[in-house]
Every structure is written in C-alpha cells, then in structure tokens.
Symmetry: C2
Subunit: 343 residues, 2 copies
DNA sequence: TTTGAAATTGCAATCGATTGCGTAAAATAT
DNA sequence: ATATTTTACGCAATCGATTGCAATTTCAAA
C-alpha cells in the first residue's frame, strides 16, 4: 500500500528517449508534436498506467478545476439536491467538488472557507449558515481572487453572483391561496430573520394580507419555528390561544409543517377543515403525509444546475465590468390536501 | 477578480529579510526556528493575509489530505447521511472530501475513480453502482497505492477494507417478525442480485423460512423491484395472483415499500390486517406514512463515522501484513404500523 | 579566553507538469 | 541547389512549499 512510485511524464520520456516536454505536450494534445510520436506517447502512457498528477499540473497552471461548496448540512434534502444539480454540470466540464458542512455554525463556516482558499479552489459556492453575523470571510474569498457564488441563503450586502428563489412571491402566493380558500386567521411560523430568505417570506406573507385588505394579527406570528420540534411547540401555543388560527403557514420548512400536522392530529383538530397547513420546500415526505401537505417547490436540482452554469459562464467572461448577477428562480406552489377544504 | 497575486512564503521572507525556509518552518511550527522570529513570521503572515497553497504543499509532501467519495447519488438519504458521517470525522482531522456521483453507471464510476486518482487523493471511499460488472478500476486504485474502503454495496472479491451492514441478519429478523406476526404468504421484492447486499437480504429471507420450517413459494419472489415504481408494479402482479401474498418484504428500500403501500391503498387492501409491509433503510418518510412502515435502520451516519475512523486508523498503521478488515454494523428492525396487526 | 555543543538560519534540490524560447530538422518555395 | 518557412523537439525556468545538509551564530562549559 505504501510507497508506490507512480509513473510520471519523466518515466514515459525516459522510456522513449525523449523529453518530458514532448510528453506533456502530447498528453495535452498540443499541435506542436508530431502525430506519430504523439500516438506513441499516448500508447506508452497507457501501458505504464500513467495518471496525470493534478497537484503538479494545477500548481503550475495556477488553477485547480475544483469548486468548493459550503452548506449547512449535506443530509438535508434541499441541499443534497442542489449539490446533485451542481455536480451534474461540473462533472461534464471536468471540475471536481469539495464539500464542506458548516453545521449552521459561523466559526466552522469560516474554517471551511479558509480550507477552500488553501485548496486554491476556482470558485466557492455557499449558502450561509443561520447564525452568520458578519461576512468578512466571504469578502476574503473575493480578495483572494476566487469567484464566489451565493445561493438560497445569501448575504445581500455582498456584491457577488447569487442564485436565489423568489421567496417573497412564493410566500405571497401561498398565503393568497389560503386567504382565497376562506381561511381567516392565518398564522406564520417564521425563521431567523437575519437570513434574508426568511425575511422575504415574511414580507410575502404581509404583502398578501395587504393585497386582500386583511388586517395582520401580530399574535399569530411565531418567531424562530424552523424545526419540526419548534414548529410543534409554536403550534401548541397558537392553538391554545383564545382566538386560535384556522391556518398555519410554516414558512420555514416542511419539517416545521410536519410538526404542525402532528400537533393537530394529536389534538384531534381536523386538517384541512379546521386547520389549513402550508409548508415550504417540497420535501419528499410532504406528499405522503395524510393529508398531504401543500408546499412550495424550489426546484433545488435545477438551482444547482443554475449555480454551476453561472460559474462557467462567468469564467469564460473576462469582462470585469459586468455587474454581479442575481438569478431568481420562481418557486411553485403545490396545492395538496392540507389546504383543500370543501366549503 | 482575475490575476490576484496571492502572497507566498517568499513574500513574507522578503519582507522580513529572511529565507523562505524559515518561513515555512515557522508556519509549520517547527522547533528549529527561534521563538521570536516564529512569532514575527506568523504575525506578518497574518498581516499579509497569507494562505498556504495546498497544491504546492501537497505536491511536495506526496499526499493530499483529501478523501474521494464515490456514490451512486448524493441526493438519496442513505448516502447523504453516510457522507455527513464521514465529513464529521474527516473535518476534524483537516481532511477534505471530494464527492463524485456515479449515477449507477459503471462507466461514469470508472471516470470518477480515475479523476480521484489524478487528484492524488489519499483514500477512495466507494459504494459501487448497481450495474458494475467488473472491478478493474478498483484494483487500479490499489495499484496506485491509494487506500480503498468499500461500504454498503461492496465488491466482495476485492480484498479491501469494508464497512457493511449485516444485511442477512437484518433481513432474517424482518421476515421472522412477519412470520411470527402470523403472516403466511410472504413475498419478496428483491434488488439486482449482482449487488451482494441484495443477495444477502434474499438469503436472510430464505433463512427465516427455513428456520420456521415454512416452504418458500417461488412465485412470490419478484426480481428487480427496487424503485417506487418497480415496487408498485411488482405489487400489482403479486396481488393479482390466484393466491396473493398476505405480506410483502420490500428488501430493496423504503421507496419500494412505499410503492407497495400506494398500490394497496389504491386497491382498497387494508394494511396491516390484509397485507403486511416491511421496507428497508428507515427513510425519513417511513414513519410518516399511514400506516407507518416497518423498516430497518442502517445507522447511516454512524456508518460514515466508521468508514472515516477506519481510514485514520489504518494510515497510522504501517503494518502491511494486517488482513483487510471488514466491519459489520448490525442494523435494527424498527417495527411500525404496517406490520402490527391485532389478531 | 578557548572549545564544543546546541540552536538558528541559509542553500539548493525536490515534488511533477507546463511553457516560452531557441534550435535543429524537415518541408516548401525560389 | 539554395533560401526560406514550418514543424518538431529540447532546454531550462517556473508554480509554492518542504527538507536534508551545510554554515553560521549563540551560549555554556572548561
């Protein structure tokens, strides 16, 4: 296992009595090497089971053909789908992906970013963690001449490429759907407001109220309810109010919505007739629950594709005067059983 | 964005009027450099926003502190959990993860492996794709002196480190549970038999029959039913037999079990009273369905931890005479509504 | 003050691939 | 046959960090 001497271009050169230069050129399919010798070189390279040392190659070329991805956690449907989407594209271009998990921790996020800078990645793709409070480390990425693309959870104040969902619009549509369904007291389970995505979702919620000329009821807005447990907890509080809500928009995630559903079931409250529920993210389980949960699809794999394509588009483009692009993907409201009441 | 000259140890050396050697040593906390100059070097490195170029460092040191992971697809619960588990451990050791998806395609798997060899990864962790028919590419990994660890889906004939589930035992327990529950005609949805995991699960199924002295009914064994759709299809066939089964063990996955459940619901067949269902893998949705699905938990995150720990244990260990280790993790049967009938 | 050992630092090669520049050889034009 | 252009290949530097060995300095012991 140890100390296997791998064959290098020098080994090939020596065997053929030529220089490493020619070998290198041949393997890069340069036109300045004779066709015959090129064939010969490729043949012997194959015989010797030669594999190019990308460390050396990349060092010399000052690039790495590697993209670093920093996400809160990989074993969360949305993120693993985005990664799958990124990989689809990058793989075809011969780029590799280094994955780091920030675990929703600001310090670990900084460490991840630094590691990726050390690795000389060509680009860092990030969805910031929930407790990120400043973005010096991201500025640092730019200072090192590394392309930076933010997706989904973005630091708005940083001028970088961004791929986001139109959270406001999606949220607006979801709440409109509830209002049109005849729900009168619609509660909101909101996420950490330092993340713009959650702020936007709240704005969409408020916008719908305004559009339909319905007054907002402050006591129906529950902060920081973005896990299944917190969602359940918030729901218990909401449902024990003197004037409980007749619908809950779990704007943070389907997990949260699942918490709502559990509590409703446990309390014998009928969904959707007595309580409408709408989640967010179209997790795979949301169509399996009973009733199935109305939610919002974010086209996560497509989002990954978009991120990757954006990168390849931008590196081809040396024009530094272009404004930082923001691509917004319109999510889709998926109406299911949890909000379909027959009046 | 382009052409940012990053600071190197030479820049630091020049600024302080010393050599790069000392800078390098200082940054590696070598004892052969004066404490005072060490401090000074570290301070200026920080001021200049120096980041070590790992390409250069790794090239020189002949390692990369990187582990390559090849899996069928990342956006599948089991695999993303394993990766999360691997990352937990490797991150602490300062190792990075390069992720490749084979997409269940043998050729792409080969390409992935080759890329990782090019990248000079220190270890390749792989769960082979379903249509892998030979393992030359894995042998090649070993030939390049790269540590190879297989997990879950393994090529048994290759002598490498392996981390697997005790599929046979788990499967045996699941079927025993069904038999003890009074189910008489238990069908099996099996996966591609070239993958040992599916072969073992079938063996467990057969073993249970033998143990309880129940005859195996060949027509109740359905080949290649390892997606939701194929599971549903197989179920339709099974349930339209003259003598339909009264339980189905979807040994391939919970997705397949979900297909079974859908068909049963559609046909108005009651679960678990008229039909028992058991899945595999404890996907998050399996406890949400109604009834919830009895399944087998594979401790996927722990499996990832184990893989990573195994690697670090082995590289510390230069003794090449050690036999290739196989670590078997005992999965756990999780009994839920889909097999709980009250007789 | 001298001597020897220990502590610091510098020199230069090395990891493997790439590439600008120069030159010899081959091909084409005159 | 000679001049000129192409083509093909070699030389040597380079990317940035590491490290064995040599050289110098420091310091304590004699």
């Amino acid at each position: 296992m140890k100390k296997v001497k791998r064959t290098t271009i020098y080994d090939i050169a020596e065997k053929l009595g030529i220089t490493a230069s020619s070998v290198s050129r041949a393997l890069n399919n340069s036109s300045q090497v004779n066709e015959k010798t090129k064939e010969l070189i490729i043949k012997t390279a194959d015989e010797l089971n030669y594999k190019r040392n990308l460390l050396a190659s990349n060092l010399r070329k000052g690039q790495s053909k590697t993209i670093g991805v920093v996400i809160p956690r990989i074993n969360q449907n949305f993120f693993s789908n985005v990664i799958a989407g990124i990989e689809e594209v990058t793989y075809q271009k011969g780029f590799n992906l280094i994955i780091c998990q920030s675990g929703e921790d600001h310090d670990k996020e900084i460490q991840c970013v630094n590691t990726l800078i050390n690795q000389h990645v060509d680009c860092i793709v990030i969805s910031v963690s929930a407790d990120s409070y400043d973005y010096q480390h991201l500025q640092n990425v730019l200072d090192h001449g590394i392309q930076l693309i933010q997706f989904d959870r973005v630091a708005e104040e940083l001028e970088t490429l961004k791929v986001i969902n139109d959270n406001l619009q999606a949220s607006y549509e979801a709440v409109s759907h509830l209002i049109e369904g005849g729900y009168k007291r619609i509660a909101l389970l909101e996420g950490p407001q330092n993340l713009s995505i959650f702020k936007q979702r709240k704005e969409g919620y408020l916008k719908a109220f305004k559009a339909y000329n319905v007054p907002v009821i402050e006591e129906l807005i529950v902060e920081n309810a973005w896990t299944k447990e917190l969602g359940a907890e918030g729901t218990r509080k909401l449902l024990s109010l003197p004037h409980p809500p007749d619908a809950i928009f779990a704007s943070t995630s389907d997990f949260s919505a699942l918490g709502v559903l559990d509590v409703a079931n446990a309390m014998g409250i009928k969904v959707p007739s007595e309580l409408g529920i709408c989640g967010y993210a179209n997790e795979s389980f949301s169509e399996i629950t009973s009733p199935s949960i109305t939610t919002i699809d974010q086209f996560s794999v497509y989002m990954g594709n978009t991120v990757a394509n954006l990168f390849f588009q931008e590196i081809g483009n040396n024009d530094t005067t272009t404004k930082p692009k923001i691509i917004s993907i319109k999510p889709e409201l998926i109406i299911r059983g949890s909000t379909k009441r027959n009046r």
